[in-house]
């Protein structure tokens, strides 16, 4: 729709101060989310995907804290004009403003599906509670909205589903109800943290086509987190590739898959088995494993596993920074700095 971002994250740093040391879970992350677009965040377990979006929602609790950065959001209810962006980092924790945003303009589908619903209240009551929290409507109206949402996300017999408990529903239905709940207030930004990881491909396909439909019909912006590159390829407009708390590469989905510029992105793409690979062929692997989060690092986070690392310890003495290499694509790697001869 517009060319202005709905959300701008700049240099975000979120740390956990533990007895054993400091975990820099998110270490200087920047990205934009545009209106009506899907941003996919990929990366292996522990790279900081969930902490990033929990930071955006200001859900980080002690011993964690946002140590640095800006999270600018174009809020309709908090901003004075549509041009103004509010920096969520500056809103006091537990403030009325944050409560007004969460679940209303920014909604979350969390990583653990069971955690989204309380087991002791019916689906209907929980949906209506969210509606009452953000809208001045009667019980009857709230109920009507809730039923409409459930119908929209393809829950059969939405009226009777209102009276059910989350644990009574099948995995696929629970997932749908959860999306319905996230959508109750027509959010501007929907954040989905691995919403399809624990479910079957057939249910996953249902959920993905549902999200795609919602995004097209309501122009909702979506941040979609996953480690499944197939899901990213099918759903995302733009992609952020993370490793050890940092953005390695970001850009349009087609560029990321067909013209990846970072050694980690390239290695990741090579190592996935697909339904097209010939059977019993050996997969190219990324040697080694992800370093421990406490480990002190000076250089590039990927250096220990990188096949393209530069000579003379260049990559281990200094850390590269995320730089735009063209209008849309950014890369954090010394291979893309002028003084280095790339061939």
């Amino acid at each position: 729709m517009t060319n202005q971002p709905l959300l701008e994250v700049r240099d975000l740093q979120t740390v956990f101060e533990l007895d054993e040391g400091i975990v820099k879970a998110v270490d200087g992350v920047s990205f934009d989310v545009y209106s009506g677009k899907v941003l996919g965040i990929v990366g292996e377990s522990g790279c900081g995907k969930s902490v990033t979006i929990k930071s955006v929602l200001r859900l980080i609790e002690k011993p964690g804290r946002i140590a640095n950065g800006a999270i600018r959001f174009r809020s309709k209810i908090l901003g004075n004009s549509s041009a103004e962006m509010i920096d969520l980092v500056h809103l006091p924790a537990k403030s009325a403003q944050l409560r007004a945003l969460r679940g209303n303009e920014i909604a979350l589908i969390p990583q653990e599906p069971m955690a989204a619903f309380s087991p002791v209240h019916t689906i209907g009551n929980q949906l209506m509670e969210v509606i009452h929290l953000h809208q001045q409507v009667s019980d009857d109206e709230a109920k009507k909205i809730a039923v409409t949402r459930l119908k929209e996300v393809g829950v059969p017999n939405p009226e009777s589903a209102m009276d059910r408990y989350s644990w009574e529903l099948s995995g696929g239905l629970r997932q749908r109800a959860m999306i319905g709940m996230a959508l109750t207030c027509n959010p501007l930004l929907l954040i989905a943290d691995e919403p399809t990881t624990a479910i079957d491909v057939t249910t996953q396909a249902q959920v993905l086509s549902l999200l795609r439909k919602l995004q097209q019909e309501h122009q909702t912006s979506i941040i979609f987190i996953t480690h499944d590159l197939g899901v990213i390829a099918q759903l995302a407009d733009d992609v952020v590739v993370m490793y050890l708390g940092k953005v390695m590469e970001s850009g349009p989905v087609d560029q990321i898959f067909h013209n990846p510029q970072h050694p980690y992105t390239r290695a990741l793409l090579r190592s996935i088995p697909t339904v097209h690979t010939k059977n019993r062929s050996r997969l190219p692997t990324i040697s080694g494993s992800i370093p421990h989060p406490f480990q002190k690092r000076t250089g590039c986070p990927f250096v220990a596993r990188c096949q393209e690392a530069l000579p003379q310890q260049r990559c281990s003495n200094q850390a590269p920074v995320l730089k735009a290499i063209n209008e849309h694509q950014s890369v954090s790697c010394f291979l893309h700095e002028e003084e280095v001869n790339v061939c």
Partner: protein
């Protein structure tokens, strides 16, 4: 009933083709549903409902299907971790003798348990956190009479090297290892007693993509080196295509299609297989599928639909499908399908390897 019994007696004595390691016939596992004060049985969960397949020596059979279709229950019956309700599991022992695993008494099972090993899904849950690698990998050796400590630690060192871990790590505890390394430990443990058959239940599902590739390659290497036979249970079709020689697709307790891997992926003959394949998200943004997802949910095995279990979700269902369950038939050499309409349907699979 007696005719059936007679037949099963007959097959128990009929020879098994020499390339076969294992033959499963009409395997059933029903779990009783109990209700009320007296815990009377009010129904049955038909988790595995007449499954027939075989494993050739040295091959990998992939077993796929949606959650709850009976993959784990089938695997557990093979290893006699649970007692099947009925059916036959014929196994060719290392000494060449054929046995029906379902008929063996507990003490007769012990030598068999060395030959058949299981690898479980969760590398975090399946290792005792208070045991170091030497004890973890060495435990099966100790249980099976390798009492000499030196001999045991030598063997553990060999096993660790085999799965690509340093023997120096022997005194470390599982928490010091990453997910992929832990799964290597689990594999080393499973290989301790020189098994011939390894049943792997979702061995890479909990692992990250980069680590998944390492473990899959390791499993392929070990198979070649040690002439292992694998039953590889998974719900990830990409992984299954990658590792399997043949694939069996299960739906609500039954096998609906079984064939060589490439044939199944390129030219599926069962509507459910085709639906599963079309649901896999292709890792290429230039091939955005229409994504016409399969509607509805997997039925409960306690109350499966009549006839063909797939009929409520099948676009091709007819009255016959609603009334009568199709048999699993060999429609081409080595390609088995259970569908009344397989001959007339032209289904599409995935595109050729790129």
């Amino acid at each position: 009933m007696s005719a059936e019994l007679a037949q099963s007696k007959l097959t128990a004595n009929t020879p098994m083709p020499p390339e076969r390691l294992l033959e499963v016939k009409e395997l059933k596992k029903y779990f009783p549903i109990r209700k009320g004060f007296f815990k009377s049985v009010v129904g049955q969960v038909r988790s595995v409902d007449g499954v027939t397949f075989h494993l050739n020596q040295g091959e990998t059979l992939g077993l796929v299907g949606e959650s709850g279709c009976g993959k784990t229950t089938t695997s557990r019956c093979l290893l006699h971790a649970i007692n099947p309700t009925s059916g036959e599991i014929r196994y060719r022992q290392a000494d060449g003798q054929l046995v029906d695993v379902t008929q063996l008494a507990t003490d007769q099972l012990r030598p068999l348990r060395r030959e058949m090993q299981m690898i479980f899904q969760d590398p975090f849950a399946s290792l005792n956190p208070r045991m170091n690698l030497l004890d973890l990998v060495g435990e099966p050796l100790l249980v099976n009479g390798v009492a000499n400590r030196k001999e045991r630690s030598d063997r553990v060192a060999d096993l660790l090297r085999l799965v690509g871990l340093r023997p120096e790590y022997m005194r470390r505890f599982p928490h010091a290892f990453s997910g992929g390394q832990r799964q290597r430990i689990v594999i080393a443990r499973a290989l301790a007693l020189n098994p011939r058959l390894v049943v792997a239940d979702e061995p890479v599902s909990a692992l990250d993509v980069s680590v998944q590739a390492q473990v899959l390659n390791l499993l392929l290497d070990l198979q070649e080196q040690l002439k292992l036979t694998y039953l590889f249970v998974a719900h990830d079709l990409s992984v299954v295509r990658h590792i399997s020689d043949r694939v069996a697709v299960m739906y609500v307790g039954r096998i609906v299609e079984m064939s060589p891997t490439d044939e199944l992926f390129l030219a599926p003959k069962h509507p459910y297989t085709a639906a599963l394949l079309s649901a896999v998200p292709v890792a290429d943004p230039r091939i955005r599928s229409k994504m016409q997802p399969l509607e509805g949910d997997v039925p409960s095995p306690s109350d499966p639909p009549s006839g063909c279990h797939f009929h409520p979700r099948c676009a091709f269902a007819t009255d016959l499908c609603r009334q009568q369950a199709p048999d699993l038939e060999e429609v081409q050499p080595n390609h088995f399908v259970a569908c009344h309409r397989q001959a007339e349907l032209a289904l599409t699979g995935v595109s050729e390897p790129i």
